[in-house]
Amino acid sequence: MNDQPNDPIDALLQKGFEGPVPDDGFSARVMQVLPARRPRQRWVLPAATAAGIVACWLALTSTSLLRAAGRDWTTGTLSPPILVLLVAMVGMSLLATWWAMTEADAPG
């Protein structure tokens, strides 16, 4: 594509752009309305993740589901315990994907 014919258009558009707006007290006004920011609690996410893992582990080990699924998996049988675990894993993966996409869409 030949960009040469567009150069005058670029020049005209740039000429028609007023450029940065003078501050005129804008920054001071914004600083007055900035909310106080609480320090970020960096431990919350790892702690919540660890608590979730422990809770899952306790819930699964208190039933025979995990052992049954492991036994059936080694024998190649598609049993209800395996299906339950697969559905749970797919559900968690979908939730994680949704959360990641939401975070990616947010500015920043």
Binding site: Q14, K15, P39, G108
Partner: protein
């Protein structure tokens, strides 16, 4: 280029101070460095409505302050701010019952040449308003704010191919509109 990377390093340092040290003065410096262009961007998007543009700019900087820890440095800080500001504008626009210009691509054939007394800048303004909203946004960010196509794609949350298409079509339409203006003998 060197100036640009130096500016980016200054921004990064200020962001680090503002985030890790919770330093409001560092954020104030960021604010003073970028408010002019962000407000210019919003004034263009709101078609010169200075009050609305400044309200949106204030909202954008408050969001930037709240989300500053999410700035990862993948894009320039100014580009990140433009994106927040554009998102604020879009949200405001969607709430508004007023269309910004209501013009569509097929309106071109109804455009008449501006009055002979209008100066070139007003003619450019007039011609820009004849473009679709997407074309206006892309030309504003790519040509007037000086962003690359990639950066405009990030700011506008628009596929890169669409950005390039809007840029090409928008410029082609402007050429036609301004050619019509020139044919009037001005």
């Amino acid at each position: 280029m060197a100036d640009g990377s130096a500016e980016a390093r200054v921004d990064q340092a200020l962001v680090a101070r503002a985030v890790h040290g919770n330093d409001r003065r560092a954020f104030e410096q960021l604010l003073r460095r970028h408010q002019g262009m962000v407000r210019a961007q919003l004034r263009r998007l709101t078609h010169g409505d200075e009050a609305s543009a400044d309200d949106l700019a204030q909202e954008a900087f408050v969001i930037a302050w709240k989300k500053l820890h999410q700035f990862r440095g993948d894009a320039k800080f100014s580009t990140w701010l433009y994106r927040i500001a554009y998102t604020c504008f879009l949200q405001s626009y969607r709430k508004s019952i007023h269309a910004i210009d209501g013009k569509h691509d097929d309106d071109l054939d109804r455009v008449s040449a501006p009055a002979s007394t209008m100066d070139l800048q007003m003619d450019i303004e007039y011609a820009m308003k004849r473009l679709s909203a997407g074309e206006q946004a892309v030309l504003l960010h790519c040509v007037q704010l000086g962003l690359s196509h990639d950066e405009a794609s990030y700011v506008l949350a628009m596929p890169l191919g669409t950005v390039k298409t809007h840029a090409t079509r928008g410029k082609a339409k402007l050429q036609l509109l301004l050619a019509a203006w020139r044919e009037t003998g001005n």
